[in-house]
């Protein structure tokens, strides 16, 4: 270690309310001097490194750079940090990292994502690499891509906890004048067994912060885990149960007014004229704004704003999207797919010669599948509160990208980035919708015009009609089987590619010749990431077609997939487990059927079996069996909850999720025509977790969703012989 200098931060410390870095000599590389004013302002608090602080009462706070949207991530990330630190869980608190560049600058990420850890440089080596690199996600403070645990948790939280532990031990060794190796840690205490000395972490916090950051903190092996792998109760449950949890929509400040907004029904149109004669006279109304791309009414109360907004007559400019209907859109997809023929389009993956293999195949299978647009329908509608005044801007919301929100607010308000503060709260559902910035930008524009604080809330109608949708899509397949019913060729062409890039590919299936292509079809609706993103449609496309090939080969869907996965023991184990859980071979009553589907995504391998009752007018999904290998489930209860919620979300889409356009506008507007699964429609769900590789973790939030739809439709086929090639099921007549 080179020479280091004692840094004086008294000025900054006092300015920030007496931050305790004052007087501490921080070693180069440890960013706590810059960060303390942001996160360790309290009395007696000491930041040890970027992600851990300890206060005088021996409370350990884990600072997490992700947002809580119901997925339980605060708890799991804190669990990872606290375990490596040997912290007493009852004394662990959690703090969301502030939306500040200082918190996510590259050096911090680098410091805690040292490549020498026992995790691969690329988290989930798939055909294309990872979904998003750690640096991207952490430096942008994104919560998405089922990334938090496998990325941030595995590489930053654990390292930070282990590093803090080593720093505390080093400080204790120095103070007690013993060798560090003689010390151990337990329940937020440092212990020296030889001399029976023990002391709290807090008593060494200041001295620990003066230690150099360990270059390679030693991480625990699974046998030593105390918190990881345990179904620890989520810390956000009590406040979400008693109603004290604060969501973005709860923002409340003195003098705050409310805005209701309405955008043109056809996305891309402009508001040409606005007649506010009646609205002007209505109670509570303060301002009526034509923002060009939407109309806003600002009033003393939200109800008043909404009532006045409803009386405003608007005309909109013409756009290319005006005449478009859903059927015409699907016809456009079909035409462009026809035009792409056998060779055009962008090749996403290719091996062997599909043309020749298909031509020579003993059995040829062809099919086309379609899915509709889907809205996110978060329980908490889009909202944002903004206050723009002389040289300052404050914004409150719940977003998956706090730092991006701050940037968007700065650009929109024209106020210097340093004078913009973004305040994030809990998200009442994210699913990708809250990775968009439209609500932040709109609220900031309104507040810029009024110059007083305004809370903008979208109505449920706006929320449904102005979403950034999961694209509607069409996918076509040709598959070849040899005379033994073995798959020899797989060719696919589909519309759109958003993310992840490997979603349309099947590298895990042994098919010697395959070619996968996509074409981009222009549509005026905005696309956005929707839980599991492109896997949500490709899971259905791929696993439906695999089932059709199995049927053509005269084989059972489970047996056929076993052949395709031969040589991949980890994959096979997941498939076998799901089949076993479901009692695959046991007969079912008349009119009932079982279907299986297998989709690895976001680093987690999942197979699901659905049991469906087709004796009534509509399909009734009775049971879902989930076998999942996420490498290692940090919080098995949280993981299972994510499987269950993926099934609720995915089944909503499978049974009735459909956004369609007519005359360019979205036809659905609220829960009566965009229904959400009800509790009586929820199947029994059984989840079995396989910890297949503790070094390489997978995600939890999304991977449970892609296999759901095909498992259900394959079960419907098993029960009725009817193959469903278009979702949702509400469009299909089963009479």
């Amino acid at each position: 270690m080179g020479k280091w200098t004692r840094r004086a931060f008294i000025g900054a410390g006092v300015a920030a309310g007496g931050a305790l870095v004052v007087g501490i000599a921080v070693r180069p590389g440890n960013p706590i001097d810059r960060l303390s004013p942001l996160v360790a302002k309290g009395k007696g608090e000491q930041l040890i490194n970027a992600w851990v602080k300890i206060d005088a009462d021996n409370i350990v706070t884990a600072i997490v750079p992700h947002v809580e949207m119901g997925q339980g991530i605060f708890t799991s990330l804190a669990q990872m940090l606290a375990d490596e630190l040997d912290a007493d869980w009852s004394k662990v608190r959690i703090l969301e990292a502030p939306a500040d560049d200082k918190y996510v600058s590259h050096d911090i990420v680098r410091e805690f994502a040292a490549p020498n850890l026992e995790v691969p440089a690329i988290l989930e080596p798939t055909a294309s690499g990872s979904f998003l690199s750690l640096a991207t996600v952490m430096t942008l403070q994104i919560t998405g891509g089922s990334f938090s645990i496998r990325g941030t948790g595995q590489r930053a939280m654990r390292t930070a906890g282990a590093a803090a532990r080593e720093m505390l031990v080093a400080a204790a060794a120095k103070e007690w004048n013993v060798r560090a190796a003689e010390l151990r840690t337990e329940n937020s205490m440092v212990l020296h067994d030889k001399s029976s000395k023990s002391a709290t972490f807090a008593s060494f916090a200041t001295a620990a912060a003066e230690q150099s950051l360990p270059a390679k903190p030693k991480l625990k092996s699974p046998k030593d885990y105390k918190l990881m792998g345990k179904p620890i109760a989520r810390t956000d449950i009590p406040e979400k149960t008693d109603g004290s949890a604060i969501f973005g929509i709860d923002a409340d400040l003195p003098g705050m007014k409310y805005a209701a907004v309405k955008a043109p029904p056809v996305v891309g149109a402009a508001v040409e004229t606005m007649d506010a004669t009646t609205a002007k006279t209505m109670p509570g109304v303060l301002q009526i704004l034509n923002m060009g791309d939407f109309v806003a009414v600002v009033a003393d109360g939200y109800w008043q704003a909404e009532q006045a907004l409803a009386t405003i007559d608007t005309t909109y400019s013409k756009t290319d999207g005006d005449g478009l209907d859903q059927d015409a859109l699907f016809a456009r997809y079909a035409k462009m797919l026809d035009e792409a023929g056998d060779s055009d389009g962008d090749v996403e993956a290719e091996e062997g010669d599909v043309g020749e293999a298909f031509a020579n195949a003993a059995t040829k299978v062809e099919a086309e599948y379609k899915v509709p647009f889907l809205a996110h329908a978060t329980m908490e509608p889009m909202n944002c509160t903004a206050w723009v005044r002389e040289g300052k801007c404050d914004v409150w919301s719940g977003t998956q990208m706090p730092l991006m929100a701050r940037k968007a607010a700065a650009e929109t308000s024209g106020i210097d980035y340093d004078n913009v503060t973004y305040h994030n709260a809990y998200l009442g559902g994210g699913f990708g919708r809250r990775a968009e910035m439209d609500m932040i930008i709109m609220a900031t524009r309104i507040a810029k015009a009024t110059q007083y604080p305004v809370k903008m809330i979208w109505s449920r109608e706006e929320d449904t009609m102005q979403d950034h949708y999961r694209p509607s899509a069409t996918s076509r397949f040709q598959g070849g089987l040899d005379k033994d019913g073995k798959a020899v060729s797989w060719s696919n062409i589909h519309t759109h590619l958003f993310d992840p890039q490997e979603a349309p590919t099947v590298p895990y299936y042994n098919i010697a010749n395959h070619k996968i292509r996509k074409i981009d079809v222009p549509t005026h609706l905005r696309f956005g990431p929707w839980r599991s993103v492109d896997h949500s449609q490709h899971g259905f496309f791929i696993e439906s077609f695999v089932d059709e090939m199995a049927q053509a080969a005269g084989k059972d869907g489970y047996a056929f997939r076993r052949e395709l996965l031969a040589g991949s023991p980890r994959h096979l184990k997941v498939l076998d487990t799901a089949a076993k859980m479901s009692g695959w071979d046991k007969p079912l009553p008349e009119g009932h059927g079982r279907g299986i589907a297998f989709v690895p995504s976001f680093g987690t391998i999942i197979a699901e079996v659905a049991e469906v009752d087709m004796t009534g007018k509509k399909p009734k999904v009775k049971k879902i069996f989930v076998a999942a290998d996420p490498g290692f489930a940090v919080n098995p209860d949280g993981f299972a909850a994510q499987m269950e919620s993926s099934i609720a979300y995915g089944l909503t889409a499978t049974l009735f999720g459909e956004i369609s356009v007519k005359d360019g506008a979205v036809q659905q507007s609220n829960f009566h025509d965009y229904p959400i699964l009800r509790i009586n429609e929820m199947p029994d769900v059984a989840v079995e977790i396989i910890n297949g590789d503790h070094k390489r973790l997978g995600g939890a939030g999304e991977p449970g969703l892609p296999p759901l739809a095909p498992a259900v439709t394959n079960a419907i086929f098993a029960a009725t012989g009817k193959r469903v090639r278009e979702l949702p099921l509400s469009k299909v007549d089963f009479a």
Partner: protein, 160 residues
């Protein structure tokens, strides 16, 4: 396996947003009906329905009972006497420290505040922070809704 991929769509979207390619247009039309705090009856249109509807009436009622915490020190009637604190009749719109015959603190007298509803709100939220050195030692109201109600009551009572 040969794989041909383009850059991640999600990352692409993010980068675009970060570049601020989307400038923030100002409103093409801005109708200001009323400034917040201004009397709702000043609304531009004469056809305006009675602004003091049921909601306002109940707010005033709530304010009247909340004002009980003030009456030990303040009266709220035309020509009423000053007590420990000054008469608050007609305070909205008035300059701070202008009740006849009341001996204000220097801090209040020189504060330069004009009592708009907003100013009242922030004073009542934390008198000592708003006017450091004020001699009003009680009466801070932490609940924003209660402050709103009290202010509505002061306004209503002053109109009679």
């Amino acid at each position: 396996m040969k794989a041909v991929f383009r850059a991640s769509a999600l990352v692409l979207v993010i980068t675009l947003a970060a570049c601020g390619s989307d400038p923030a247009p100002e409103p093409t039309e801005q109708i200001v009906v009323r400034e917040p705090g201004a009397d709702a009856s000043e609304a531009s249109d004469t056809t305006a329905p009675e602004p003091a509807g049921e909601a306002t009436a109940s707010l005033v009622a709530a304010g009247k009972s909340a004002f009980n915490t003030c009456i030990a020190c303040h009266v709220l009637e035309k020509g009423g006497a000053n007590r420990i604190g000054p008469n608050l009749y007609g305070i909205i719109g008035q300059a701070a420290g202008s009740a006849d015959g009341f001996k204000y603190s220097d801090a209040m007298a020189s504060s330069g505040i004009t009592w708009t509803k907003e100013e009242l709100d922030s004073y009542l939220a934390n008198p000592a922070a708003k006017v450091p050195g004020t001699t009003m030692m009680a009466g801070a109201i932490s609940d924003a809704g209660q402050r709103e109600a009290i202010i509505a009551y002061i306004e209503d009572a002053s109109a009679n």
